[in-house]
């Protein structure tokens, strides 16, 4: 079944490219944006949202509907694992809703297909975390409003770290590795840290933190074999060659969470949703045994930023009301209420001043980490390159390939794929 879905996405992507060529002027040139205005919204607005978001939306939307009595919002929940296919086919068939929830990494694909409407100049939402804004831009236009953000930070067991002699979170790469080793030698951990042996995306924060970039500034050439990249790969590899990280961790879902709660692998890098998962798994009192921290620093301490954007589709019949709804969802007070309902981290910077977020030390870490984030180019080429990247990571971590050679191989593959920059 996953193979079928993958084939399907490729086919749909091909179909989209064909339709995009057939339509003139939609892709590339920023469309004349509608204006939002300030009056109440009217008519029907359809909104597709994924899983948990769709479940929690109606309660939040009640306030919007009370303020705009003439508007009806219909929320259709879309399963996460098939959402991408659903949006793709809807675009191909011209049956898109007014508003969609798009993963940040899907943006350029859908914007390039000419499916998204440009954000009106008078929307007046934000300011948002700069890391989240980057993926809303395409060819000089803005096509989405950040809804919530997601960034991995370091989770570590404070009780075991104290036993290993560390009272502070690891600040530098050296600290990080020393702590991981000490967890094994002095705190009884089987492995010091859970790192993904074959996940290129999981390696990216290390590359960025070491000052490496994926492409040249003009985004036309991959730079995957730069000295900074190779050095980062060598550092990442050392965790596996020195036995600090498991080369063959269990792939059972949630295995690393279980290993974290039982102390056998007392560190991992994970997103905000882990807090709730660990509370479920660890039971009462476990929250006092661990803390979150911003990633350890080399030249910088850069993490990955993901999340979801809200978009209005080009074919929307009620774009004005749709944009008003999006404006409502991006207000700081709505985003705080949304965070309380779902745990989704607010994209609006002002929302982070609210005591609900600023007062929770585990969460405030995410706010600080969001000041230093990056994301890979959201192109179809990147999606293809990731597979090659995963394969080289495996050579690096499992087979012990020389980092310079692995990254050179990856660079050669990448050069063949191209960056997709125009």
């Amino acid at each position: 079944m996953p193979r079928t879905r993958k084939t399907l996405s490729i086919l749909v992507a091909a179909a989209l490219t064909v339709t995009a060529c057939g339509r003139s002027g939609t892709a590339g040139t920023p469309a004349t944006a509608t204006t939002v205005g300030t009056g109440p919204a009217t008519g029907t607005v359809t909104l597709w949202a994924q899983g948990a978001e769709a479940e929690k939306l109606p309660a939040i939307l009640a306030e919007f509907e009370a303020a705009n009595p003439d508007v009806t919002v219909t929320v259709t929940p879309v399963p996460w694992d098939a959402a991408h296919s659903k949006y793709q086919t809807a675009i191909a068939g011209g049956t898109t809703p007014d508003i969609g929830q798009l993963g940040t990494t899907w943006m350029s694909e859908f914007t390039a297909a000419g499916a998204l409407a440009a954000v009106p100049a008078d929307l007046g939402a934000g300011p948002f975390h700069p890391g989240a804004v980057a993926s809303t831009r395409f060819d000089g236009g803005t096509y989405a409003v950040p809804w919530y953000v997601d960034t991995p930070v370091l989770y570590y067991r404070t009780d075991l770290a104290a036993r290993a002699g560390f009272r502070q979170p690891p600040a530098t790469w050296d600290d990080f590795k020393n702590l991981a080793k000490a967890m094994q030698t002095r705190a009884g951990a089987e492995y010091g840290v859970a790192l993904a042996p074959r996940d290129f995306q999981g390696f990216l924060p290390f590359a960025w933190s070491n000052g490496a970039t994926l492409t040249t500034p003009d985004a036309r050439t991959w730079t995957l074999d730069s000295p900074a990249m190779i050095e980062a790969a060598r550092y990442y590899q050392s965790f596996f060659t020195e036995g600090i990280a498991d080369r063959t961790p269990s792939t059972d879902p949630g295995a690393y969470q279980a290993a974290f709660t039982d102390g056998s692998v007392p560190m991992f890098i994970g997103g905000p949703f882990e807090v709730a998962a660990l509370a479920d798994l660890g039971g009462p009192g476990f929250a006092a045994k661990y803390a979150t921290a911003t990633l350890p620093r080399a030249r910088s301490a850069t993490s990955f930023v993901g999340g979801s954007h809200l978009v209005v589709f080009e074919k929307s019949a009620n774009a004005a009301a749709a944009w008003r709804l999006i404006r409502f969802l991006s207000l700081p007070q709505t985003q705080v209420a949304w965070y309380k309902a779902t745990g989704d981290l607010p994209s609006a910077q002002a929302a982070w001043d609210d005591p609900a977020l600023a007062g929770d030390p585990k969460l405030a870490v995410f706010g600080r980490q969001l000041q230093d984030v990056d994301s890979p180019p959201s192109t179809a080429e990147w999606t293809r390159l990731q597979d090659a990247g995963n394969a080289q990571m495996e050579r690096l971590t499992v087979s012990g390939e020389d980092p310079a050679r692995a990254m050179a191989t990856l660079q050669a593959t990448a050069a063949g794929i191209g960056t997709g920059a125009r």
Binding site: L11, W80, A82, T89, G93, P253
Partner: protein, 271 residues
């Protein structure tokens, strides 16, 4: 001789156990709380059995709606296939008309084209017809299938021409021959076709996902994926309880039609 029998039975029981164990795990898991499902080492029997997962499905998640949709879509699809595939199969097997071989060739070609290739064009056609988010959109494209036509044609070729000629001499029209002489002989392949199409429709995920654009039209597999699989986490309790309910009708159907099914597959293979 007896030693061979014992060996044979031991092998069969082992194979059957291997097949049944995952289902047993699913069934037992569906009455466990999430922490027990993820527990390591895992235990077969639930420590604190709970019906919470089922309660959620029948309560807030309105499984009845999705179940009803799945049943409606599957039943109409099966009926359509039984009728249309047998008619087309009969025409291709027994009627002489120009272009018959070409038509059969075309059916065989569509049989060989993977579904994912026609998926998007099919969706665009359904969308242009304005059938998105309707039951018609969910059912219409699957009312007949090349596999079904092929299966029926192969079986129908085994019916002696003399039988049909006798009916013709007795003055029966083509439709009467089809309905009164041919169809009553087609029990086994129709049962096979019915089960295959029911399974295909019941398990279909991508098409209803894409065509149903409001929650009220979602079928069981879509709802299952919707509620159990999140962006980063999976609710295994809900997933297992939902899977039990998705599978139960299929197992019941198979047990009810087992005799026909086995016979149908065996004879279809022989012709």
């Amino acid at each position: 001789m007896t030693a061979r029998r014992v060996l044979l039975h031991a092998a069969l029981i082992a194979a059957a156990a291997l097949t049944v164990l995952p289902f047993l795990w699913m069934l037992l898991g569906s009455v466990k709380p999430d922490s027990e499902i993820r527990a390591d080492p895992a235990a077969w029997l639930p420590h604190t059995p709970t019906l919470d997962n089922y309660r959620q499905w029948f309560g807030a998640l309105r499984i009845g709606t999705y179940f009803g949709n799945s049943v409606l879509v599957a039943l109409v699809t099966v009926l359509g296939n039984l009728l249309f595939c047998s008619m087309v199969g009969y025409a291709l097997a027994k009627l002489r008309f120009p272009g018959r071989r070409l038509l059969f060739g075309l059916v065989m070609v569509t049989l060989m084209v993977p579904g994912v290739v026609t998926f998007v064009p099919l969706f665009v056609v359904v969308a242009r017809l304005g059938l998105v988010d309707t039951y018609a959109g969910l059912i219409l494209p699957f009312l007949t299938s090349p596999t079904g036509v092929f299966l029926m044609r192969q079986y129908l070729r085994s019916i002696p021409d003399e039988l049909l000629e006798a009916a013709r001499i007795d003055g029966a029209g083509e439709f009467r021959i089809f309905a009164r002489v041919v169809l009553p002989l087609c029990g086994p392949p129709l049962a096979t076709l019915g089960i295959l199409q029911f399974l295909a429709s019941w398990n279909n995920f991508l098409w209803p996902l894409v065509v149903a654009q409001s929650q009220d039209r979602y079928t069981l597999p879509v709802a299952l994926s919707l509620y159990s699989t999140g962006e980063q986490a999976t609710d295994y309790g809900l997933l297992l309880a939902g899977s039990v309910m998705v599978i139960t009708p299929i197992v019941a159907l198979f047990i009810a039609l087992q005799r026909w099914f086995v016979q149908g597959v065996a004879t279809a293979g022989l012709k």
